[in-house]
């Protein structure tokens, strides 16, 4: 009984049966199908009707009719006419009985049926045949009451269309004919205002997105103006366009049709399979787009499902996801518990092997989910407790796959513990255990855990898990320093060698990518062919033969979905996501190791290939990386305009990533332009972001104090800058952030250089150099070499040769991978070396110095780095003076003056502000 009743016969299904009959018995049709393709198209349409899951409710007759008009072409009116007349002719229970026994006739396999020519015999085992059989069966098990209900419902179903002068509005109209009624309705008609609500919500969100900056930066007119400007200039068209692509096209926004659940029972849920598919897709959408999915819209749909199918517990899970991504902790906890109380963890988890599961409860999955939820909300302690419990219960229940996943979750947790969810801009929000004692041993523990988890996943053949474990491993290798102790000596005095292993990172990343060739056997069939049907139905508006879609298609997302689905085996989204993150990690790795082009290429690959499948926060991260790159290589103008586009696109999601980026860029630029006050404010802002309510983000904190030190340096407060850098160094050392220390040492060297104590700076530079060497930070090493050279140079002209050799050694790296600033610095330093070398004479080969200086000043002008630019022009002016080229000298001097003036009165004019 349960199996039979799992498929209820509804008016819509009766309509589909009628269509099937038309499809199968084409001779009865007076105008037969003009072409095979037309016939096939009808078949495809019927197939899609039975499979698609774009909505939870079965379409009404009018929807069906309008779709038929789309696909039917010339045959459309005839199809519609036949359908409506056939359905509306069912007026007594006996008509229904006859109808369904006729339906049995178009199934093949029974001998009694007289086969007409041209008849398409439906294979009883084909999808459509099965559908038909289920309908017939569902009808046959109906009680008489059931038949009566069906008949009434068919009546209502038809009436709405046939009295087409007043379709659905009918109820509404006569319902609110008097104002008292509407008055009473007003009180609970929040649904009515829903559309407004949504718009308002969006506006609010938009405001919030922008105000968050201005709120914190309650100071300078400059920034406020800047932010205002961004808002004003925003192109409304691009706004609209971005909404279309980014505002999650998969989430179904209920229009008027689901505003109120019809009290008269004409609303039917689709089949269980379709609703599950819908829910799965929505879950994907929520996980992908995070907070940008409108909370209330979806909540409304869920409530509707709950009302129509109270035993469909998966709805609670969706409630959970929805509240999770809207940061509603209490609702999330409630719904999570509710879901697992009802379902006992059996419903709807793809990694539970369907055959092996003997319906025993799987509460360990509840623990796993709860743990991840706590992790998401930034409660690492609770998360750890819950996950430990999950490990124990999975062991007791011998649920190996859950154990593997739990271990992976623990790894993830312990590698990110202490840093808040707002991950740093570098993407690798790594900071070792802040509160857990000796961190080296914890790191080792994590390493063991990772290895263990990887082994387990491999033995269980959980391919996705294996891949993501490889990713985690790569991340670990990237950020952790391997401590190598000689085997024989123990104790604290044993010499330690620290190093990183880029080779391991590469290896792990490569292993991760193997996933794509292995996933083939794992396909979630529910998702794929249903998705195809859904996409097909959605694209009905396209002209005939629309499977060959053209690029003019506006909603790019659908197009991709269709293309993917049209392939024989599409790649599951989760696989794509893992692959995507491997590229993201690659980009971060190359960033760390100092190869700008490779980092950029990987980020670009991610941005072009994986944005559809990845979460929007990851996408925002990639955009942030690319924009950073842009700022370093093309200047701020480009970067800010790109940032504006990105901000528009990621309106509500992951604002923090873009916010941090914006602050970083503003800070850099302020430093270059000499706006020290502004720089300090931005820097303080960053500091505030680092220790938000959710917890301290070590990565961001380090960044903020580093920038603080640099600001102080720029303000020539050397001892303060040095003090800040020192304390920062201590902090990093304490938390075992060795890799970061290389940067800090370099900064210290820089401070000493600027303060004129070159001798003091030398050891720092050397230390930084050796750090870079052992951690394989090539670009940083080049820049440390440059600083070293500058230090030598400032010790006197007799060291110029040595400095020049150093610079020449670093130049290939700097010119290949360095940003504008580094390149310019290197060139100026090079020419300074030449100039201070006593054996060099300007008159012999002036181009050796002039050429680098020219290039440097060009680059610096792009960057608006006034101080350095002034230096470059100054040198040029002197050289021209020596050479007697007075005209050029004047020109250079004028430029020099301009930059010095700009540096001294930074508030003067800011072309970029106007541009933004």
């Amino acid at each position: 009984m349960a199996a039979a009743s799992a498929f209820a016969i509804t008016p819509h299904k009766v309509s589909v049966c009628v269509l099937l009959q038309m499809y199968a018995l084409p001779t009865q049709a007076t105008p037969p199908f003009s072409s095979v393709s037309q016939h096939n198209r009808l078949g495809l349409y019927i197939l899609s009707l039975t499979k698609s899951y774009d909505d939870i409710l079965e379409p009404k007759l009018e929807d069906l009719i309008s779709q038929l008009r789309e696909i039917g072409g010339s045959l459309g009116p005839w199809l519609i006419d036949h359908l409506t007349s056939r359905v509306s002719s069912l007026s007594s229970p006996d008509d229904l009985f006859t109808f369904f026994s006729e339906m049995r006739g178009i199934l093949g396999g029974s001998d009694s049926v007289v086969i007409e020519d041209n008849q398409v015999i439906l294979d009883p085992n084909s999808i459509l045949g099965m559908f038909l059989r289920r309908c017939v069966l569902a009808f046959n098990v109906l009680s008489f009451e059931g038949v009566c209900h069906l008949l009434t419902n068919i009546g209502i179903y038809c009436k709405e269309v046939l009295s087409n002068c007043m379709p659905y509005e009918l109820h509404r109209l006569d319902g609110s004919s008097n104002d008292l009624e509407s008055l009473s309705e007003c009180e609970n008609m929040d649904l009515e205002n829903f559309v407004f609500g949504k718009v308002n919500e969006e506006i609010e969100e938009r405001k919030e997105a922008t105000e968050r900056v201005s709120f914190h930066l309650h100071a300078t007119q400059a920034i406020c103006g800047l932010v205002e400007d961004v808002e004003v200039v925003t192109d409304p068209r691009s706004k609209h366009h971005d909404k279309g692509t980014e505002d999650c096209p998969h989430v179904h926004h209920p229009g008027t049709e689901s505003q109120d659940v019809d009290p008269y029972g004409e609303v039917f849920l689709r089949t269980n399979w379709q609703v599950q598919g819908y829910l799965m897709e929505q879950a994907d959408a929520i996980e992908k787009h995070g907070g940008s999915v409108s909370f209330n819209t979806f909540e409304l749909i869920l409530r509707q499902i709950k009302k129509l199918a109270p035993e469909l517990h998966r709805v609670h899970y969706l409630h959970y996801l929805n509240s999770l991504y809207h940061d509603d902790y209490f609702a999330a906890v409630e719904n999570l518990h509710c879901y697992f109380d009802y379902s006992a963890g059996i419903e709807g988890f793809d990694f539970v092997p369907p055959s092996g599961s003997n319906n025993s409860a799987r509460y360990e999955i509840a623990l796993l989910c709860l743990g991840m939820m706590h992790f998401y909300f930034g409660h690492p302690k609770q998360a750890l407790l819950v996950l430990t419990e999950a490990v124990r219960i999975s062991q007791v229940q011998s649920n190996d796959s859950c154990l593997a996943y739990t271990l992976a979750a623990i790894c993830n947790l312990s590698s990110e513990i202490g840093s808040s969810i707002t991950a740093g801009i570098l993407g690798t929000s790594y900071s070792p255990e802040t509160s857990m004692g000796s961190s080296v041993s914890v790191a080792q523990q994590l390493f063991v855990l990772l290895k263990e988890s990887l082994k387990r996943a491999e033995s269980l053949k959980l391919k996705r898990l294996v891949a993501s474990n490889h990713l985690a491993m790569a991340k670990f290798d990237l950020m952790h320093v391997h401590v190598q102790r000689p085997l024989l000596s123990f104790g604290p005095k044993a010499s330690m060698r620290l190093k990183t292993c880029p080779v391991n990172v590469c290896k792990e990343l490569r292993l991760c990518s193997h996933l794509i060739s292995e996933f083939a056997s794992e396909t979630s069939t529910v998702a794929t062919d249903g998705a195809f049907s859904t996409a097909w139905l959605k694209n009905l508006t396209k002209p005939m033969g629309s499977l060959v879609l053209t690029q003019e298609n506006e909603s790019g997302e659908n197009f991709h979905a269709l293309q993917f689905c049209a392939q024989s085996s599409s790649i599951p989204r989760s696989v794509l996501q893992i692959l995507g993150s491997s590229y993201l990690l690659r980009a971060s790795a190359w960033e760390t190791y100092g190869s700008a082009p490779l980092a950029r290429i990987n980020a670009l690959v991610y941005a072009t290939c994986f944005t559809d499948s990845s979460s929007s926060s990851d996408t925002a991260l990639v955009h942030a990386k690319l924009i950073q790159h842009l700022a370093a290589f093309q200047g701020y103008k480009e970067a800010f305009s790109a940032l504006k586009v990105a901000e528009e696109r990621f309106l509500s999601v992951s604002r923090s990533v873009l916010l941090v980026l914006k602050l970083q860029l503003l800070h850099e630029r302020a430093l270059h332009r000499g706006h020290l006050k502004l720089a300090q404010q931005v820097c303080d802002e960053l500091g505030v972001l680092a220790s938000s309510v959710m917890g301290v983000d070590m990565e961001l904190k380090r960044e903020a104090s580093l920038r603080h030190a640099r600001t102080l340096l720029a303000a020539k407060q050397f001892s303060e800058a040095a003090a800040v850098a020192h304390s920062l160094f201590c902090m990093c050392y304490k938390f075992n952030m060795q890799v970061e220390n290389a940067t800090i040492l370099l900064l210290l060297a820089e401070i000493h250089k600027k303060s004129g104590n070159a001798v003091l700076g030398l050891p720092y530079a050397l230390a930084s150099l050796s750090f870079c060497q052992s951690f394989n930070l090539d670009l940083l090493k080049a820049s440390a070499t440059l600083t070293l050279a500058e230090l030598w140079l400032s010790l006197g002209s007799n060291h110029a040769k040595r400095a020049l050799t150093l610079i020449h050694g670093a130049l290939p790296m700097i010119l290949g991978h360095g940003g504008l600033e580094l390149r310019a610095r290197a060139r100026i330093a090079e020419s300074k070396c030449y100039l201070s070398d006593p054996s060099y004479s300007v008159f012999e080969d002036s181009e050796v110095v002039l050429d680098p200086l020219r290039q440097a000043s060009d680059e610096l002008q792009v960057l608006e780095y006034h101080e350095l630019a002034a230096e470059g022009f100054y040198l040029m002016a002197i050289i021209f003076d020596k050479l007697g080229k007075l005209e050029e000298r004047e020109e250079a001097a004028a430029s020099f003056k301009k930059h010095v003036m700009a540096l001294e009165n930074p508030q003067d004019e800011d072309p970029l502000l106007n541009l933004l």
Partner: protein, 553 residues
């Protein structure tokens, strides 16, 4: 409060009017109260007191602090003039319709009244339609059971009724009964705010309709809502407040109200049952038992609220009394959810959990929102070690009423049983939040913290401290507190709690291993503190107990 005589005459008229409008349960309630008013000795006749015997004995036993019936000063009760009927003689059609109605042929009744315009006729027509819709709804609920559970069937008359009644209300030609019906319709439509207003209007103009009061009460889910109501001071309001307080778990307030009401309605079975309910919630089982014994003697065929009595009997493990009760309600009306629940309780007490589940299931079939049956069924499943089913049952109870602390507690227990103490904590926290003066809940939570897996002793101590402060009957908390402090090496605190525990055991004249443990610890502690006399005292007391300890000394 108005005099007994005026109450009586008001009620008599009200019963007639309610009966006239086929509002039977309200009229039943009013009649019960009418009989519950204490007779003046002058008119004392044996037939009148048939339902009032025996009750004085309860009063004697439990009215130690006899409430002298001084109503709170400054409250002036309005005596609403009894409503005048608009037509003195019912029309013939009305009589026919009422007969149809009484035979439960609602649609027919409504049809007969189609063209009648009097207020009474309009009301009866609408009410009949409403009930016809309800009946059809119940039937459809069975018919429409889909693959994923029952989708809520709706009363199809509601929309048209709402339209009609709202017009009537707007035009000011609606009587209090019509307002009551309008309130019902609005509740069905989910428009709670308007429903509250409408029901308030109804009870203010006609206070004797208890059904209206109870609908209003179901809409008062928080004390804020309750306080925001503007109700005229009629004595019926006291009944309403008492029952509302009870629903809001303000048991003591509600008890006071009921005791006050008992001055006038001293023989009301309803009030007695409500008092029993409040006492039950305060876990005064002895009193509940006495009250119910009396009640059933007066009213032997009563089924309402008797399931609570069975719970008490269950808790006291009175096998034969429970079986007798089960037999009696079974003979009275076996298809009442309460009856099924009592039988379920009986089987559960006998340890026949499968059968017990069967009867709870039947109770739920009769009323799927029957809260206590879900919870009790959960308990049975726990006994049967079918934790998933238990969790499911408890969860349904919680979804019906999220303030049911027993079900939350049951959920916690079920998860704890499966070895998921941290997960269970969530549920214990919920239950403790709802019933923060119940030591059992605190102890359960403390035990969760104490488990080997969590081992969060500080939190456990906090919970035990709460438990100890709210009258821990089984005296677990003090002992555990002492033990935990000892474990954490805080011997001063441990000694303090052991001493308290010891005092308590002495006061209650209990002995046992706990006593030995306490004495032993105190003796050792005093010895370490070099307070040898005290240590000696404890040691001597220890000698009274046989076993390894005394031989150790």
């Amino acid at each position: 409060m108005s005099s007994r005589e005026s109450c009586r005459s008001e009620l008599r008229t009200a019963i007639r009017q309610l009966n006239d409008r086929c509002l039977y349960s309200a009229s039943k309630w009013a009649a019960e109260q009418l009989v519950g008013i204490e007779q003046d000795p002058a008119k004392f006749t044996p037939s009148n007191t048939r339902f009032q015997r025996g009750s004085s004995s309860i009063r004697r036993r439990f009215h130690t602090n006899d409430v002298t019936s001084t109503p709170p000063a400054g409250v002036s009760y309005v005596s609403t003039p009894v409503m005048e009927e608009d037509e003195v003689v019912d029309g013939d059609f009305y009589l026919l319709a009422k007969s149809y109605f009484d035979c439960r042929e609602y649609r027919r009744a409504a049809h007969v009244l189609q063209d009648q315009t009097g207020k009474k006729a309009t009301f009866l027509r609408c009410y009949a339609l409403y009930l016809a819709g309800e009946k059809r709804k119940e039937e459809e609920m069975i018919e429409l059971e889909g693959p994923l559970g029952k989708s809520d069937a709706v009363n199809r008359e509601v929309a048209s009724l709402e339209r009609e009644l709202s017009i009537l209300r707007k035009n000011g030609i609606i009587d209090p009964f019509g307002l009551y019906l309008y309130g019902l319709v609005l509740i069905e439509k989910g428009n709670q705010n308007l429903a509250r207003t409408v029901l308030m209007e109804s009870v203010n103009s006609y206070p004797w309709n208890w059904s209206a009061w109870s609908e209003l009460q179901s809409l008062c889910t928080t004390i804020e809502i309750l306080n925001s109501l503007t109700l005229s001071n009629h004595w019926m309001k006291e009944f309403f407040l008492a029952s509302a307080y009870q629903e809001l778990r303000m048991h003591n307030e509600s008890l006071t109200k009921y005791e006050h009401l008992q001055n006038t309605f001293s023989f009301s079975n309803y009030i007695r049952a409500q008092i029993a309910k409040a006492q039950y919630c305060l876990r005064e089982f002895e009193q509940v038992e006495v009250i119910f014994e009396e009640l059933l003697r007066n009213d032997p065929y009563r089924v309402e609220d008797v399931d609570m009595y069975s719970n008490v009997l269950y808790a006291k493990e009175c096998f034969s009394a429970l079986s007798y009760l089960a037999h009696r309600v079974f003979m009275t009306d076996k298809y009442r959810p309460e009856s099924c629940c009592i039988i379920g309780n009986y089987y559960s007490l006998k340890g026949q959990h499968e059968k017990s589940v069967l009867y709870f299931r039947r109770a739920l079939k009769l009323n799927k929102n029957y809260l206590s049956a879900w919870t009790l069924m959960g308990h049975e499943y726990v006994e049967m070690k079918n934790t998933p089913a238990a969790i499911d049952a408890y969860r349904r109870a919680v979804d019906i009423n999220p303030r049911d602390y027993r079900a939350w507690y049951g959920l916690g227990q079920a998860y704890e049983m499966m070895g998921m103490p941290f997960y269970a904590l969530h549920y214990f926290k919920k239950s403790v939040f709802l019933q923060s003066n119940d030591s059992r809940l605190w102890i359960a939570m403390a035990q969760c913290y104490e488990t080997d897996q969590l081992h969060m002793l500080e939190e456990a101590i906090k919970c035990y401290r709460r438990a100890a402060s709210c009258n821990d009957r089984e005296a677990i908390a003090l002992h555990q507190l002492a033990k935990l402090h000892a474990e954490l090496g805080r011997s001063e605190e441990a000694a303090l709690y052991y001493k308290k525990d010891l005092e308590r055991m002495e006061a209650e004249e209990r002995e046992g291993p706990n006593m030995v443990e306490a004495l032993l610890f105190l003796a050792q502690h005093c010895r370490e503190q070099k307070r040898f006399e005290e240590a000696e005292v404890y040691c001597t007391r220890l000698l009274d107990y046989t076993g390894p300890v005394s031989s150790m000394i």
